[in-house]
């Protein structure tokens, strides 16, 4: 394989030092931001540096972050899924319905995850089968899925989940480490490996960079996109299990507005909304930053809406900074 004597010219693998590029990466910027917020929080509130506070903080973002992992892959391929919050509502409703028929905990989880996958498959089929733009399809299914939840539940709510089920949203695996957090970290590791160290992940990037050329290179573009929408459905289903268990009840209005928060998380994590680039580490850091910001300001009893100004500004500033920096360097050159 390495018989390269023919030309005598050796192409090096790479020119720039990987360590140097890691230091200058988006992720290191996010680490800095996260650290800065962490330190600011510790000074701003005496209650912040407390193991239970920090543990409680994770509940603010784990469910959304779980979906963000899958959403990152979808966005890297240049698509988007705005129906995730509605999938949660529908999956949660179906779990509630199953409960009415006496389902036990494993069945409940299976129903939640299963409904999630089905919804994702429905999105995926419309998008890849009929070649429709994902943003409009999922705006439609966003109404449809939650609409079905309303049809089933109306003004009712389901409650009375067994304690073994509630554990998924309220239980601790060890000390202050909640099950939600463990699940999220586990999922993050899996997604990290899949995206950055498998053929599948490599193809995901190729599709995002140029779907046509990827198809011409023998990548099964539609199949991969379909799988990714199913995956987002699955993660939404998991999030539905966690959220339902945490709330101990189901209403059709559950998880309202989550979709844009999830997308914000992904974009803040450095995933290009135009597709083709991004990393799981970035998304995890972005989730952490959003959790730190909302919780930190919450400790100061600043209303959530004011925090969102901060998040919105952070999103724009963090994206604008590298651009401004580049422009500044060009002007000097």
């Amino acid at each position: 394989m390495t018989d390269t004597t023919a030309t005598g010219r050796q192409l090096p693998d790479r020119l720039d030092n990987p360590v140097k590029s890691a230091v200058l990466s988006w992720e290191s910027l996010l680490v800095l931001v996260a650290l800065a917020i962490f330190i600011a929080n510790s000074f701003a509130s005496p209650y912040f540096l407390n193991e239970w506070s920090l543990s409680d903080m994770t509940f603010n973002f784990t469910e959304k972050a779980l979906i963000a992992l899958a959403m990152a892959l979808v966005i890297i391929t240049g698509e988007i899924d705005l129906s995730v919050a509605s999938i949660i509502a529908l999956a949660s409703t179906m779990m509630g319905l199953a409960l009415q028929y006496g389902a036990d905990t494993p069945t409940l989880v299976a129903v939640g995850v299963g409904v999630g996958i089905l919804c994702g498959a429905f999105n995926g089929a419309l998008i890849t089968g009929l070649k429709l733009p994902s943003i409009v399809v999922t705006i439609g299914t966003m109404s449809l899925f939650r609409g079905i939840a309303y049809i089933v539940l109306g003004d009712q709510s389901f409650r009375g989940y067994p304690a073994s089920f509630s554990w998924f949203g309220q239980g601790y695996v060890f000390w202050v480490i909640s099950f939600e957090l463990v699940l999220f970290l586990l999922a993050a590791v899996i997604f990290y490996v899949v995206l950055h160290h498998t053929n599948f992940g490599r193809r995901v990037f190729a599709i995002g960079n140029n779907a046509t050329a990827a198809r011409f290179s023998g990548v099964r573009v539609d199949r991969i996109k379909f799988i990714l929408f199913c995956l987002t459905g699955l993660m939404s289903g998991l999030a539905a299990v966690l959220l339902t268990a945490r709330l101990g009840s189901t209403r059709p209005s559950i998880a309202q507005g989550f979709e844009l928060e999830v997308v914000t998380m992904v974009v803040l994590g450095g995933v290009s909304i135009l597709g083709g680039s991004g990393s799981i580490l970035g998304v995890v850091l972005a989730a952490l930053i959003m959790g730190l910001v909302t919780f930190g300001l919450g400790l100061l009893n600043i209303p959530g809406i004011v925090m969102s100004i901060f998040i919105g500004a952070l999103l724009i500033v963090v994206i604008a900074l590298p651009i401004l920096f580049r422009m500044w360097r060009q002007r000097r050159a």
């Binding site: 409680d56 509940f59 109306g154 009712q156 559950i254 998880a255 507005g257 919450g298 009893n301």
Partner: protein, 305 residues
């Protein structure tokens, strides 16, 4: 110093701002109390949970909450209690597992009867009425509507409740639902909106569609917000309890629990100038009967709340 958090369904709502005023009063009266007035901006359970989470982290002494969902808040409030925080609900309650005391502004049955009576009083011949509620999950509204429906056949036989719709305490949704009711029920004589947001929206729709005199809007309204609709005749009369007293009492109850008083059925708590309340077997207490506003007294009360 005792730190008491007054958590409301959503910030900015006039009703809750009035309650906060009462809470401040109580805090000043008792002394050595730090009052934290907080809540989400959108009236959802998830947002309220985040607020409660941060209150737990701040290790407040007591939380007095008007809940967006009776069930969804239970787990987080239970956690608050495990961490030694006293929890009461007021106005809109949570399930008994999630709180130690619930303070009803009035007897549910009484409110239910009042809202339907408000409609019936101005419909001597009877007729169709519809209910425009808040969120379909709102505990208190659901209880009142149930109570109203329970007394109707016996006490107001010629009143016919044709529909119940939900405006989610959102002015747009409430407006649309009110329009829908008017379009769908041509013979509608009255709209009962047991929510301060819905009642304003319904009255505005009736005013806009020149139906003053044909459809009477009634329900629970804040006098300061609703005065103009009594003035223009869209509404004959509405009712409400005193939100200031409600906030005031909530702080007294919370403080009593922090001071070690036991919440048990039959226990009696004294609440400053308001008097005292006694807990029933679900540890709920009720305050006075709702107060009625009409053309004769709206001017006076609109100055107060």
């Amino acid at each position: 110093q005792t730190r008491i958090a007054l958590v409301v369904k959503s910030l900015g709502n006039g009703f809750f701002d009035a309650a906060a005023k009462g809470a401040e009063e109580a805090a000043a009266e008792i002394g050595d109390i730090e009052l934290i007035y907080t809540g989400p901006t959108a009236a959802t359970a998830e947002a309220q949970i985040e607020v409660v989470n941060s209150l737990i982290a701040q290790q407040v002494d007591a939380i007095a909450i008007s809940a967006n969902d009776p069930d969804a808040l239970v787990p987080v409030l239970q956690r608050a209690q495990q961490r030694g925080i006293k929890v009461i609900s007021w106005d809109s309650g949570v399930a008994p597992e999630g709180r130690q005391i619930h303070l009803n502004p009035s007897e549910n049955a009484l409110i239910g009867e009042t809202i339907i009576k408000l409609a019936a009083d101005y419909l001597p011949e009877g007729g169709d009425v519809a209910i425009l509620s808040a969120a379909s999950t709102a505990t208190n509204q659901n209880a009142w509507i149930e109570a109203a429906k329970a007394v109707q056949p016996e006490k107001f036989p010629n009143i016919n409740i044709v529909a119940t719709v939900y405006g989610d305490d959102d002015s747009v949704k409430s407006t649309e639902e009110a329009r829908g009711l008017i379009a769908a029920y041509p013979d509608l004589k009255a709209i009962i909106a047991p929510t301060t947001v819905g009642v304003v929206a319904a009255a505005q729709v009736v005013t806009d569609q020149n139906l003053i005199g044909q459809i009477n809007v009634t329900g629970l309204a804040l006098p300061s917000e609703f005065k103009q609709f009594i003035d223009n005749g869209a509404s004959q009369a509405v009712a409400l309890w005193n939100p200031i007293d409600l906030g005031y009492s909530a702080v007294f109850l919370a403080k009593a629990l922090v001071d070690g008083e036991e919440a048990a059925p039959g226990a009696t708590f004294s609440i400053g100038k308001v008097g005292e309340v006694t807990l029933d077997d679900t540890n709920s207490a009720a305050m006075s009967a709702p107060f009625q506003f009409d053309a004769s007294n709206i001017e006076e009360f609109s100055q107060i709340y």
